[in-house]
Symmetry: C2
C-alpha cells in the first residue's frame, strides 16, 4: 500500500520524476564518481517531503533509529550493504560494540537496536551492545515492544579502550546521536568510532549539512538540467538567539520575511497556490524538539511563554541559541486521511529500504517527527533500486526511485559535510 | 520448496554445517581479508554437489548463463551487487556492451541475456547487446521462450574499439566463454574486457582452478578446524591424450586407479558405504561435453567408438587432449524423485541467489549439466546470507548459508587463478 498523492500528477512532479527516470544512467554514473571522491557515512536516514511540485529532504539522520520499520523482505539488501560498509570502514573488525541511545525505556527504539544488531550479525560480525546510560550498571535484559529480548551491558573504560566483560572490539558503532554532548567516556578512544564523534549533534549543525546540500544540488541540477529549487528547500540561519530573554526576535523575524518572499516568488513562478511557510528549528539537535511552523514574521514576534519554552530547549535540556530557517515543504502524500512522510534508509551509499511516517492528527505543513508524536510506520513495498523505466513516471517503483535519488543526494551532502567538519583534517 | 536431503542429517554434514554456522563471524572476517587481497570476478556461478557427508564445488563458471533462473525477489540484491562490481571494475563506465554466446536459437539462454541486461540497466548503465555471431549481420530482434524481446546488433571493429551504431562503450562484458578460441575481433581491444580474455575456455584450465581451490581450502579448513576433504574433491590431470587414436588410455587408467584408492580410503575413514567414482572431463571447456563417469580403471580402457567420439570433442568442435580426473561427489539431494544440484550465483563477492538443477532422468553419480539434458530450475527460496543461527543446522536458511560459503570459496579460487594466469602480470 502506497500513500496516495493527492495532488494531480501532471504538474512539475511528473516532469521531475520523468527527468530523473530518463536520466538514470547519467545519475548513477554521476553518483559513482561522487562516491569515489567522498566516503559515504556508515548509515543514515533521510526524511523527505513530497509536495507534488517539489521533492526535498528536510532532515538527514546519521544515527538512524528505525531499522525495525523496514520491510523484512529487504533484510538481505541490508546485510549486503552492511558488508560493504564494514569492508570499507573497518575490514579488520571481527567484533563490533554498538552503543545505543540512553532512553532504554522506549521499547520501539529497543526494537530498532534489535533489528540493527541482527543485520550486523548476519553480515558476519560478533556484536554486543554496550550502554553508556547510568541506569545500566550490570548486564540487563530488556524487552522490545514485540517481545524480543536484548542484552545491554555497561561499558567499561580500560585505558583508551571501551570494552565489555570478555569483549574487546576493534570498532564501535554509535547509534547515539550525542545530543547531550560528547561524554568523557567516549573521548580519546583508540578504537574506531563509527560514525566519527563529529557526526553527533554535540558538534553537527543542520545549516552545515544544507550548505553542502546546496552545492550538491547545484551540480546535480546542472547535470540533469532542472531548477535546483525543485529538490532543494531554501534556508537561512539565525544565531545568538535567546528565546527566554527575547533576544534576537527582530533579526529572526526579518529573516523569516526574506525567506517567505523568496518562496513566494518561486510559488508564483510555478503557479503554486498554497501559502508559503518556514520551519524554524534548532540548528543542532534532533527529535523534533525546538521546532515551529511560521507563516509570517509576526509568528516569531508573538511567541507566548509556552512557545518560547518549547523553542528554547531540545533533547537533553540543551539550550537553543542557533536556529535554521528552512523553507517548509508541504506533504501532499496521504494514506486514507492521514499525512504520510517518506523516510529513506541507507547503509554505505546504498538505499536499503524505507517507510512512511503516517500520522493522523498532523497537518500538511507540520513536522511529523515531533515529541509525543505517534506515527504508524508503513514499510516501502519495493526497494528504491528497481525503477520501471517502461512504466508511468508515477508508477510505484518509479516514485521510490525518485525517493532513493533525493535521499542519496542528501547522503552525499552528509559525506561532504563530515569531511569538511572533520577536526583531524 | 527445498529438495529433501535423502541422507540422514546426523552424520558428518550436520557437523560440517554446524561448524560453518558457529564459525560465521570468523568465516566472514576471513573472507573480508581475502577480498582485500584478491579482486573477485565480476560474476560467476558455482555448481555444488551435496553428498550429505560432503559439500563441494564441481564447476566454476565465469560466464554464468542462468540469471533467468534466479528468484525474482532477489533482483534488488543483484542490482546492488552489480553496482559494487561496476564501481570496482569500471567506475567510469556509462555504457556497457554485452557480448553473449553465439547460440542465438536457445531461447532460454536469450532469457538469461534479457535478465542479465535488465540487472545491469537497473544498476544504472546504458546497455546494448553486441553479437559476434556470423548470423547477426543487422540489428535483430529475438524472442525469449517466454515472449520477451531482445535486440542483438552486429559488433563493428573500429581501430582498437568494438562499437555498435551510435554506441561506443568504455567497457565490454563478456557472457561468452570463448570455448572456440579468442576471435580476432576481440583481440587487442583498448576497451576493458570483463572478465578478461584469459578467463575464457580458450586458455582457462579446470585443473588450475582446482589447484587454487586446494590452497584456498587448506587455509580455510585450518581456520575452522575441519578435514579439508569435506569441502574439496580430489583431482588429478592427464595430458597428451587422443581418445580417437587411443593414445594415453593406460596412463589415464592408472591415474583413475590411484584416485579411486584415495577416495576409497576416505570413504572408509568416514564409514561411507557408497562406491567411489571419478568424473573424467575436458580440462578446458564447459557445457558438460567431453565428460564421463568412471568407477574402475577398466571403464577408460573399454571405451567403445561412440564413447570415444563423445570424449574427444567439446563445444565448438575443439579436440580434447587434456582431461581432469575429479573425485565424483554423489548428489543426495532430491526433489520428489528427481536428483537436484544446487547452483549458486555471485556478482562481485556477493552471493545473489541460486537455483537447483532438478533432473528426473539422471542418476546420483552423473553430471547434471550435460548435452541434451533437460533440467527444471528451482530458484532458491531464501538468499544465502540470512542464516538462522538459533535454528537447527539443517534449517533451510542454514543450508543456504553453507552453499554460499562453499560457492564463495570456489569464487576466491577463481580470483586467485585469474591473478596467476594473467598474461600481463
Amino acid at each position: 500500500m502506497v500513500p496516495h498523492l493527492t495532488t494531480a500528477l501532471n504538474g512539475p512532479l511528473l516532469t521531475l520524476e520523468q527527468r530523473l527516470l530518463e536520466s538514470m544512467p547519467k545519475i548513477e554514473h554521476w553518483f559513482r564518481s561522487q562516491w569515489l571522491e567522498y566516503g559515504a557515512p556508515f548509515y543514515a536516514s533521510v526524511d523527505l517531503r513530497n509536495a507534488g511540485f517539489k521533492l526535498a529532504p528536510v532532515d538527514t539522520n546519521l544515527f538512524p533509529g528505525g531499522f525495525n520499520n523496514l520491510n523484512p523482505d529487504f533484510l538481505p539488501l541490508c546485510i549486503q550493504a552492511a558488508m560493504v560498509a564494514v569492508e570499507k570502514i573497518c575490514p579488520d573488525a571481527r567484533r563490533l560494540l554498538v552503543i545505543p541511545e540512553n532512553h532504554t525505556r522506549n521499547t520501539f527504539y529497543l526494537r530498532n537496536v534489535y533489528a540493527l544488531t541482527h543485520i550486523l550479525r548476519q553480515a558476519g560480525l560478533e556484536v554486543r551492545i554496550g550502554s553508556i546510560s547510568p541506569d545500566i550498571t550490570e548486564p540487563t535484559f530488556l524487552e522490545t515492544h514485540d517481545g524480543h529480548s536484548i542484552l545491554l551491558e555497561p561499558v567499561q573504560r580500560k585505558g583508551n579502550r571501551l570494552v565489555l566483560d570478555n569483549f574487546d572490539s576493534c570498532a564501535i558503532l554509535l547509534n547515539n546521536d550525542l545530543s547531550g554532548g560528547i561524554p568523557e567516556i567516549l573521548q580519546n578512544l583508540e578504537q574506531s568510532l563509527i560514525p566519527p564523534l563529529h557526526a553527533g549533534w554535540a558538534t553537527r549543525r543542520k545549516s552545515q549539512h544544507f550548505a553542502a546540500y546546496d552545492r550538491v544540488i547545484a551540480e546535480f541540477a546542472k547535470l540533469i538540467d532542472i531548477d535546483p529549487w525543485l529538490l532543494n528547500p531554501y534556508f537561512d540561519t539565525c544565531t545568538e538567539l535567546d528565546f527566554h530573554a527575547r533576544v534576537g526576535e527582530d533579526r529572526l523575524a526579518a529573516k523569516v520575511e526574506t525567506l517567505l518572499a523568496r518562496i513566494r516568488s518561486k510559488y508564483e513562478e510555478y503557479g503554486v497556490t498554497q501559502e508559503p511557510f518556514v520551519i524554524v528549528k534548532a540548528d543542532a539537535g534532533t527529535y523534533g524538539m525546538g521546532i515551529m511552523t511560521v507563516k509570517s514574521p509576526e509568528d516569531v514576534l508573538d511567541l507566548n511563554r509556552k512557545q518560547r519554552n518549547k523553542m528554547s530547549v531540545i533533547k537533553e535540556g540543551l539550550k537553543v541559541s542557533e536556529v535554521i530557517l528552512q523553507e517548509g515543504v508541504y506533504t501532499f502524500e496521504h494514506l486514507n486521511e492521514a499525512v504520510a512522510e517518506p523516510v529513506v534508509y541507507m547503509m554505505d551509499h546504498f538505499v536499503v529500504g524505507g517507510f512512511y511516517r503516517v500520522h493522523t492528527s498532523r497537518g500538511v505543513d507540520e513536522n511529523l517527527n515531533a515529541p509525543g508524536m505517534h506515527f504508524e510506520p508503513l514499510a516501502f513495498e519495493t526497494p528504491c533500486s528497481t525503477p520501471d523505466c517502461a512504466g508511468a513516471p508515477d508508477a510505484v517503483p518509479n516514485r521510490f526511485y525518485a525517493y532513493g535519488v533525493v535521499a542519496r543526494l542528501a547522503l552525499l551532502a552528509a559525506a561532504i559535510e563530515l569531511q569538511e567538519t572533520d577536526p583531524d583534517q
